[in-house]
């Protein structure tokens, strides 16, 4: 093996420290936690902590190399854009950067400028805001590059606010900044922020986030919009295949096992990529699986959706047949996250519900915690702990005792 290959492998191993949570809905594009998350999480356990935040936000925390990172927005018209890094062990702030928005910051009062979740490749972190300002920093908080996409194209904006969370694929940052006017997705060079490609996208407000489908060493990026889901090559944005039967503009698609993708379209529609180089084919569709605001979540052969009536439904990833339904405490804006045994869900009122999903016949609520604050963000998980934020606070919640 060549030395350069060894160095590359070593860098990749370093880049993905065990248990990192690198973007919106984790590392798998579907909310599944690579590890355990015990049901006996407790707000006052010895490893739990809570810290104050300097501004609003509904972006999720991400976890990289023992740092909990997240964004916040503050000040008049929320023009102060904060990027914060906390020590995962004790919640002590490691560094903070404050920038000024160069794009529009007007939002619906329920959302805010810090709505998009950061993303990382393990070496750098990228923060995108509703103003379409994008900052790439190293893990010490040093700026690598920045862009202002609304500064560049003043009609990239949404009067209700933007919230798509970017992804990183093959060294390209994919930022969906789609809206009623100048509607684009950008592929930015992760090294210096320059535009590798810019793709004209369907006009219309769109709050969904891209997904990455991996097949051996190949990656495709799924871009969802009201027209459906389009898979593009991260290198140049060229379309590989598209599903054109419409899709939601709020909940995002989820990656499922065996090169399948679950699209919030006509309820949920499942498509699958053939393994012979051929494109996708539709495998099922179930109109009784319409998600509300949160995105579908996957664990093993189960897909979970929470509808607008606060009913959590489990269905088979293989055929879409419903396993069980459970009324939960809502309303819910956040996407659930899952382990192989449990599903964790937050209501907007701040009730965390931990639900046993190990039995595909019936679900059972195992634990509830009242955070006594509005929680709109999707939680993150790492090493048996849960991380979640409100407009005011960031929590780490750990099990009662060390497991």
């Amino acid at each position: 093996m060549k030395i350069s290959k060894l160095i590359l492998i070593s860098l990749l191993l370093n880049a993905f420290a065990f248990g990192d949570w690198l973007g919106f809905r984790g590392n798998n594009g579907n909310g599944f936690v690579d590890g355990q998350l015990p049901a006996d999480l407790n707000l006052i356990s010895s490893n739990s902590w809570k810290v104050s935040l300097p501004g609003r936000g509904l972006s999720s925390p991400i976890i990289v190399n023992n740092l909990v990172l997240l964004t916040a927005s503050s000040g008049p018209q929320q023009k102060n854009l904060h990027i914060l890094a906390f020590d995962i062990e004790n919640g002590v702030i490691e560094w903070e950067r404050v920038f000024k928005a160069t794009g529009r910051t007007i939002c619906h009062e329920k959302t805010c400028v810090a709505s998009s979740t950061m993303v990382s490749n393990g070496n750098v972190v990228v923060a995108q805001f509703s103003s379409n300002d994008i900052f790439c920093l190293d893990l010490k908080g040093n700026l690598v590059w920045l862009r202002g996409l609304t500064f560049d194209y003043p009609n990239i904006a949404n009067g209700l606010g933007m919230s798509s969370s970017p992804v990183i694929s093959n060294g390209v940052l994919i930022a969906q900044v789609e809206n009623d006017a100048d509607s684009y997705t950008f592929g930015l060079n992760l090294q210096n922020g320059t535009t590798n490609w810019k793709k004209l996208r369907p006009k219309g407000a769109n709050w969904t986030s891209p997904i990455i489908l991996k097949d051996n060493s190949t990656e495709w990026v799924g871009l969802q919009s009201k027209t459906g889901l389009s898979f593009v090559l991260p290198s140049n944005g060229d379309e590989f295949w598209s599903y054109n039967d419409g899709a939601s503009t709020i909940p995002s698609s989820a990656i499922a096992p065996n090169r399948s993708v679950l699209i919030p379209s006509n309820g949920i529609t499942a498509i699958k990529k053939a393994n012979n180089g051929a494109p996708f084919s539709q495998i099922w569709s179930n109109n009784k699986l319409s998600p509300g605001t949160g995105s579908p979540t996957v664990s093993g052969n189960q897909v979970f959706v929470v509808n607008r009536a606060n009913v959590l439904t489990s269905a088979s990833v293989e055929n879409g047949e419903i396993n069980w339904r459970l009324r939960i405490k809502g309303p819910v804006s956040a996407s659930p996250i899952t382990t192989d045994k449990n599903l964790i869900l937050f209501s907007e009122e701040g009730i965390c519900q931990i639900i046993d999903i190990s039995n595909i016949i019936e679900a059972k609520v195992l634990n509830e915690m009242d955070f006594q604050d509005t929680i709109l963000c999707t939680p993150a998980a790492n090493n048996k702990s849960l991380f979640v934020r409100s407009d005011k606070s960031l929590w780490r919640v750990s099990p009662k005792s060390k497991n």
């Binding site: 007007i106 939002c107 908080g141 920045l146 560049d152 009609n155 535009t195």
Partner: protein, 365 residues
């Protein structure tokens, strides 16, 4: 040996100055669409050689940089302070930068923010001097202090005087509204239309066709015949005339359903003239939840093709522009789409002109 050390020290100092110069030059050349990004990324390593003594020069670099460049400079200062410590911020130089009104507003408010972070007491002591500041962000801090002080006064007459004084200094919508609310509660009525300088008298013409939202890009005759506000034009259903239209809404909202009725897939034009005593750089401040275009003296200032994403807000769009001395022609195209939900009925806009600090320019026809 001593000579060698002095030479080494001078070399290090000179290298730091050169490197900050190169970096600042690169930052000042940052343009839209990623222009100049790679050059700054290349020069960025020089930040590691800088110390707190470079911070004033970096801040002054904001005077020539754009908003993106300003964020690069903020990042450089954060990085320097991370290494050398917050308490190394050269306070006296920073205060001089804040106090010098020749510096750009972004320069001064960024200097204030860093001072507030490292020496909050010193920074807070400057706030009372900001009540007439041309930088809206600093002025806001001064006005907030006035509002807070006014709300603590017990005697009614003193409160009224204090809130009226604060209102006279306030430029941000929320602070103006807060002062007005307090004054109303104290029994004083305030004419917000006048305080905020809304333009309330217009000539309007419509409806023109906006089926399938295509009218937004379609050029109808009022766009090309600007001096035609006394002529008839061909509208959606025959010839139509300009008509006078005004509003007494407290926030200057012009409800276009009033002159034209509750109709859909249509658009109209609103025209007015604004007399300016001298040529000046101004801000055109428009609010509308409908798609719109704004021309001033035949120049397209901005266009926004978006419908009903949130409500109409005062100062929703703040657009830099210029007025010439004498008569200025202002034309606004306001479009209504096909949606039928109850929250899509509104067909409206509000408009005012201010200077760059937010002080309204008074309307004279």
């Amino acid at each position: 040996m001593v000579n060698f050390l002095i030479i080494l020290l001078l070399a290090m100092l000179t290298s730091s100055l050169w490197s900050s110069e190169d970096l600042l030059n690169a930052i000042k050349r940052i343009g839209p669409k990623g222009e100049g990004n790679t050059k700054v990324v290349r020069e960025w390593s020089s930040v590691k050689q800088m110390s707190s003594s470079n911070i004033p020069k970096l801040l002054l670099g904001m005077n020539q940089a754009n908003d993106l460049g300003d964020n690069w400079i903020r990042a450089a200062i954060f990085e320097i302070l991370d290494t050398s410590g917050k308490n190394t911020l050269p306070e006296n130089d920073i205060i001089k930068i804040i106090k010098n009104l020749q510096n750009h507003g972004n320069t001064r408010i960024t200097a204030f923010d860093f001072l507030n972070s490292s020496a909050p007491q010193v920074a807070q002591s400057l706030i009372p001097t900001f009540i007439d500041d041309p930088e809206p962000g600093l002025r806001r801090k001064g006005v907030q202090l006035l509002l807070d002080q006014a709300s603590t006064l017990e005697k009614k007459e003193q409160s009224i005087d204090a809130f009226e004084y604060a209102l006279g200094k306030a430029r941000d919508v929320d602070q103006i509204e807060n002062a007005c609310k307090s004054l109303t509660e104290l029994g004083k009525s305030i004419n917000l239309l006048k305080v905020m300088g809304f333009i309330t008298n217009w000539k309007v013409i419509g409806p023109f066709d906006n089926t399938a939202r295509n009218g937004f890009v379609k050029i109808y005759s009022p766009e090309v015949e600007l001096d035609s506000h006394n002529q008839d034009h061909k509208g959606k259903s025959g010839m139509i005339k300009w008509q006078d239209f005004s509003t007494s809404d407290r926030l200057g909202l012009l409800d276009l359903n009033q002159p034209f009725g509750h109709i859909k897939e249509v658009l109209c034009y609103a025209y007015t003239e604004f007399n300016a005593s001298k040529e000046s750089i101004v801000q055109f401040r428009i609010g509308s939840k409908n798609a719109w275009k704004l021309w001033v003296n035949n120049e397209l200032i901005f266009a926004r093709d978006e419908y009903h994403r949130g409500s109409t807000r005062v100062d929703q769009f703040i657009l830099d522009g210029r007025l010439k001395a004498g008569k200025n022609q202002i034309l606004i195209k306001v479009c209504q789409n096909e949606q039928t939900e109850s929250w899509t009925k509104q067909w409206e806009f509000c408009f005012r002109i201010t200077d760059t600090s937010g002080t309204p320019l008074l309307f004279t026809r």
